[in-house]
């Protein structure tokens, strides 16, 4: 097998690392700098990365991730998830309420066994040094604690904010979409509100602890 090339690096055009607090989702580790390619998007100077954005993103995405066949696979995987969400009642407001009252094992069983299955899979992937179907290495970079005076401030405060909304609405982003697809049309209003929340976060981002 040829030497694996790093899959992702931070997306800012000059190659400088962004502030540590911008790195939050699992990312493929940054290794040697890639050969520079022409910046193709109007990226903000910092924090363009938060969701993983590889350097040669557009080319790669078009070649692999955004090819019709690849998108069909993502769509099918999503449909499977929507079906599981529905058939296991994860999308039920009542189940979420019951979970927060600790009156059923159901939700804990689902989350717990999902995490266990995923953790075992990730361990196997790392142990066997599995690659993607395109032959790229799979590495998960650690999430950053951030530079706030309170370590993990964004995870505490963002997490609590999310939890308040989760219990009020009875749905998180995935189930929200499943309910909408299933005809619970009021979730369209919730979705618009969620987009409003994200937009507001984007406006206030610089002033919030991370």
């Amino acid at each position: 097998m040829q030497t694996p090339t790093p899959l992702y690096r931070q997306a800012d055009a000059d190659g400088a690392a962004p502030p540590a607090d911008c790195v939050d989702t699992p990312q493929v580790a940054v290794a040697e700098p890639l050969a520079p390619s022409a910046p193709h998007v109007d990226l903000p100077p910092e924090c363009a990365d938060v969701e993983q954005v590889p350097e040669d993103l557009r080319d790669r995405a078009l070649a692999e991730g955004n090819a019709p066949l690849a998108l069909a696979v993502y769509g099918l995987l999503g449909a499977g998830l929507g079906l599981v969400f529905t058939k296991s009642q994860v999308i039920s407001w009542f189940r979420i309420y019951e979970m927060f009252r600790f009156e059923s094992f159901h939700m804990y069983g689902i989350i717990g066994s999902a995490v266990a299955t995923a953790a075992l899979s990730v361990w196997v992937i790392q142990k066997l040094k599995l690659t993607t179907v395109h032959g790229e290495p799979i590495e998960l970079a650690p999430k950053a604690w951030g530079d706030s005076r309170v370590p993990g401030a964004r995870y505490w405060m963002g997490g609590i904010t999310f939890g308040l909304g989760w219990a009020l609405l009875g749905a998180c982003p995935g189930p929200l979409v499943a309910l909408l697809g299933g005809g619970v049309s009021v979730m369209a209003a919730a979705l618009v509100a969620a987009l409003g929340g994200t937009w507001t976060y984007a406006l206030l981002r610089d002033r919030l602890p991370h």
């Binding site: 939700m107 266990a116 009021v186």
Partner: protein, 190 residues
């Protein structure tokens, strides 16, 4: 057909959800997570670039198309699961103590997946319903990005990768959820 309409037990659903993490990693090196779609959707809104906050100015097509299609798939799965493979009029088999607690709050209509008394277009016209649907949605959208992930990104992907920040986020999810369930809802509905 009761067998088709019966709910799936946790030990079937959980591992199936968990298997999505390696499936997405091996197929495309993608991290399982859904709330990033809220960012992608905001970035995709037909608004002049200069009037968008920097956080929303990026190449959402190449970064997010897969994830948006994934979410579209969830909607299709939800349609099949709710419309074809469920009985939407059947009340959910939740525990008796939960039913009693809901009755104390005045929630007696347990049909379907959401309480029509609180989460519906009709309820949206009431202050409580508006708070639950619009306020809840807003907080989900705000909090998920602040925390850098939602239940799928942190509670499943993050915990599976043994990320302590994700554990903090998940504890935060529960702190918020417990506060609403045990303090806010009784106050609103009691």
């Amino acid at each position: 057909m009761p067998v088709v309409q019966d709910p799936w037990p946790w030990y079937v659903a959980g591992p199936l959800i968990g298997l999505l993490v390696p499936a997405l990693l091996v197929f495309g090196g993608k991290a399982f997570g859904l709330s990033a779609n809220l960012r992608h959707a905001c970035a995709a809104l037909p608004v002049p670039e200069r009037s968008k906050p920097g956080f929303l100015r990026y190449d959402w097509r190449s970064a997010g198309t897969w994830n948006l299609v994934f979410a579209l798939g969830i909607a299709v799965g939800g349609f099949v699961g709710i419309r074809l493979l469920s009985d939407p009029t059947a009340p959910l088999a939740i525990s008796a103590s939960t039913v009693a607690a809901l009755a104390d709050l005045g929630v007696t209509d347990l049909a379907g997946f959401v309480p029509a008394q609180l989460v519906s277009w009709a309820a949206l016209a009431t202050p409580v319903g508006a708070l639950m649907v619009l306020g809840g949605g807003f907080l989900v959208g705000f909090g998920a990005r602040w925390a850098g992930g939602c239940t799928s990104g942190h509670a499943i992907s993050g915990l599976a990768a043994l990320q302590i920040p994700s554990l903090v986020a998940v504890v935060g999810f529960f702190v918020g959820g417990l506060a609403v369930t045990h303090l806010v809802l009784p106050l609103l509905l009691g």
